[in-house]
Amino acid sequence: MTTSIKDTVHGYIELDDFEKKVVDSPWFQRLRRVRQNDVCSFVYPTMLTTRFEHSLGAMHIAGECLKAALEDRTSSGSVRGFLQQLGAELSSAVDVKQPLDALALFALRATRMYGALHDIGHPPYSHLIESCYTPSDIGVPGGVKDRWHETNGAEIVQSLLPQAVAATGDNADVLKTVAHLSSKGVKTPALRAIKQLVDSVIDADRMDFVLRDGRNSGSDFGIYDLRRLVNSFRIHVVDVQGTVQAVAIRPLSTALSAIESLIQERYKIYRWVLFHHRVMQSRALMSYVLAKTSDDTEFDRRQFQAKNYVPTENPKPGQKAYEYVLLGDGIVDQHLDKHLRRLRALKRTLSVDEQRLLSALKILILRDNLGIPLWKRTDEYNGLRERDSFETKLREAFQNVSPPPPDDRIRSKHGSYANWVAAALARAGHSHEREITDAINSGCDGTEWYLLESPSFKPAGDDRILRKDGSGGLRPDNLSDVSSIASAVTEARSRDVHLFAFCFVNAPVTDAQAKQIKVDGRKRLAEVIAAYYQNSEVVRLDFDPPA
């Protein structure tokens, strides 16, 4: 018995009985209320992709890729080798049936379920909320290997979901395998190859969201030949004297046109949609508002802990889990709305902090035009070569520091001072970004400055594809060695401006005032960064890594 779900990208997505049970559970239904791209819809109004539809799409594609690889008749030896290896890897953990066709079915089910559950622990507004609250804020144990959405996800997959769907037998084994796939450091070759179907560069996760986000953004991005790419997946097993050393389930180079399109389209979506200057501004403002309202005890941060939704005093499976469904983006929206109403209702003169918070809320909710970017896009940044530009100011500010920054290397390696600063911020784990932002704002009155670096994004990464060798066999190759387009996209990304800077003001300003604020802001930012570089040995180490 299967259930079909109509999907905007894939037509119909079919679910078996157990998959339907999982999808119907509160743990999965909550994803309907979590947007895939946090604040992007503030700028692109139709960019409302939910993690629910994306998770179904990733499940579908992951299964199709593995199915194509398993059904290929020309590589039956590799298929057999992979399944035998998988059986050996699973035998100590789950009760799998040994015939190869049963193992193939189990692999397909586990792969699809891993695709479905790969985002299950994401809180409302996903990474944005996660960066605002520590594990201890929400009451989960801190670790060194995971972010807290992964801790939440592991709790759901390992414990809460199996209870909620009363999984037994093969179904319980599928969830147990998915729990293992979700963990860090999957070491065994066959399971690692399955993990990479959902978690690499050319994977079901990205293959789905590129199509979906491209379409939903309203842009003409995101189009590539999905069918050709999916059908090209093959299995390659490296076997040394009867011992399997490595397994790859990767696309063939015959689908290179589709692979290159996927990489190019993903880059465009990141560049023009996810890293749009107003999207970046909205992210920074959301973080600001959440930090400034962190003493609001009505907004209980422990609500983000998945485990809380099954009461320990009466641990009946699934009980109270339905409340977890309510934990969507709307919870955060209501929090913002409440503070906007509160501040607008105050009769007294607002303090400086309150006025800034109100301005931030007005930009986010009322769309008041109170934000001023120092530059918008790479082309604008590159146009800022005239007198008083940020680039010029940075160079001037660094002229008098000791030791002098390596100007020639900055030019050759980073293209611009802005990227040099952004790279240093990234290496420093963004701490410098916050410090510099604080330093700019100290002494400023009425204008709040923000500096932020676009998140780490490697368009092509070091993913591998399979090529046919002269003897009819397959061999893995680095994508960047095979595709000049993939290398070009990586190069293009390195030349984009990674650094965003903007300010927000308390009341609308004229164009002339905005222009002056930009000039002053660039100057102040350059001076603060130069002083920061000069005053700290560790900062200099981060700013100037070895060639």
Partner: protein, 125 residues
């Protein structure tokens, strides 16, 4: 005085590099286990300590940062995922040692907390 985010970041980074300095070249998964153990002790002394928050990244991101900054070398390929970090042998470089010295100067009292907690652990061990 409350530590700055930079100081907290320095301490989280130093915690990992100190393990490498003490133990010499170490397998990634062994290093993660050592850091986890040290973090537990650290959290008892400073309840606000949270490794991922202070480092601003899970440990895999820190490994990558160290590699890009030249603070460590490793036996794996140029870019590595978490599994590859687990099986790679990681070694601190003179530049990493230089970072530790600078971090100790700049993190001030916060760094002393990190150093102080080593003694009881060693005694137990």
């Amino acid at each position: 005085m409350e530590p700055t985010t930079l100081q907290m970041n320095l301490v989280a980074k130093s915690l990992v590099l100190l393990e490498l300095q003490r133990g010499g070249p170490t397998l990634g998964e062994d290093l993660v286990a050592l850091v986890e153990e040290r973090c537990s002790a650290m959290a008892m002394r400073r309840p606000d300590f949270d490794f991922v928050q202070w480092a601003q990244t899970p440990i895999w991101g820190l490994f990558e940062t160290f590699s890009e900054s030249g603070y460590v070398t490793h036996s794996g390929p140029s870019r590595m995922d978490d599994h590859e970090w687990c099986v790679a042998r990681i070694t601190i470089t003179p530049r990493g040692e230089q970072f530790l010295q600078a971090a100790e100067r700049e993190a001030g009292l916060l760094f002393e907390v990190l150093s102080a907690k080593v003694a009881p652990l060693a005694a137990v061990g």
